[in-house]
């Protein structure tokens, strides 16, 4: 089974999904990310889904679940790059991805994580 690579960039973990996801691959990503967040004490996770041609309820559930796990472990998840057709389809399907933070692209996602980190250090 393919595993999706997780890159570490400073305080953040970066994931780019470039394959048509098998359910098992998506589940493995959830497990791998949890372990990497714990091992690296990452403050943020950025998942780029711009290459994904669809997000169905299974992948949507995994993204929501990764968001919840990250939050509990002290990291912020930002999902970036969702294609407009995918967003339209997701909403019609009935998935709102509640609680999952999103940004249009990697740059804006990084800015969101940096702003999040800055507000943390203020407190």
């Amino acid at each position: 089974m393919d595993r999706i690579p997780i890159l570490k960039m400073g305080r953040y973990l970066l994931v780019t999904i470039q394959v048509d996801l098998l359910d098992q691959t998506a589940l493995a990503l959830q497990d791998d990310l949890s372990e990497r967040i714990a091992a690296t004490a990452a403050q943020g996770v950025l998942i780029d889904i711009s290459a994904l041609e669809i997000v169905d309820s299974f992948v949507g559930r995994i993204l929501a679940s990764i968001s919840g796990i990250s939050a509990i472990m002290g990291a912020t998840l930002v999902v970036v790059g969702m294609q407009p057709a995918v967003a339209i389809t997701l909403v019609e399907l009935g998935l709102s991805l509640d609680g999952v933070r999103t940004a249009l692209d990697v740059e804006r996602g990084m800015a969101l994580l940096n702003a999040d980190g800055a507000s943390r250090s203020d407190h």
């Binding site: 048509d20 098998l22 359910d23 169905d56 949507g60 294609q83 057709a85 995918v86 019609e92």
Partner: protein, 141 residues
């Protein structure tokens, strides 16, 4: 197994087995190819592929495997893609409940069936407890 009503104008059809998780990906790829050949808009392609992804997973996970039949159909001036997901699994005891958002008998979010109905133009669900389930969806270009 019942024979699907065939349109007189039907020019192309086929089928693929749905038995393992990997077949969900193969099903999506086949539906992408068919909707592209039919020159569906990108949004319509995405909707049909997403519906196929949900329904093929249902066939494999809940229906214990089955088959997807596809057919390019025309009605008057319009052309569309019809997909039939068939299994000989346990069937669905309460169709209304199964089509309710948020209801699930398994590990999903419970929007696969109800959600995919919203992604297509025509949706037909036939099920007999103990004998199987067949879901027919059509999306017109």
């Amino acid at each position: 197994m019942t024979t699907e009503p065939t349109s007189t104008d039907a020019c192309l059809d086929g089928s693929m087995p749905l038995s393992a998780e990997r077949d969900i990906v193969a099903c999506r790829q086949l539906v992408r190819k068919l909707t592209q050949e039919l020159k569906f808009s990108l949004v319509d392609q995405t909707k049909m592929i997403t519906a196929a992804s949900e329904l093929s997973r249902n066939t494999i996970v809940y229906g214990q495997g089955g088959v997807m039949r596809w057919q390019i159909v025309s009605e008057g001036a319009r052309t569309g893609l019809r997909l039939v997901f068939e299994d000989e699994g346990p069937g669905i005891p309460d169709i209304d409940l199964a089509l309710t958002d948020g209801w699930t008998s398994g590990t999903g979010m419970g929007i696969g069936l109800s959600g995919s109905r919203r992604l297509v133009n025509d949706f037909e669900l036939r099920t007999v407890v103990g004998q199987g389930t067949s879901v027919t969806i059509t999306r017109w270009r």
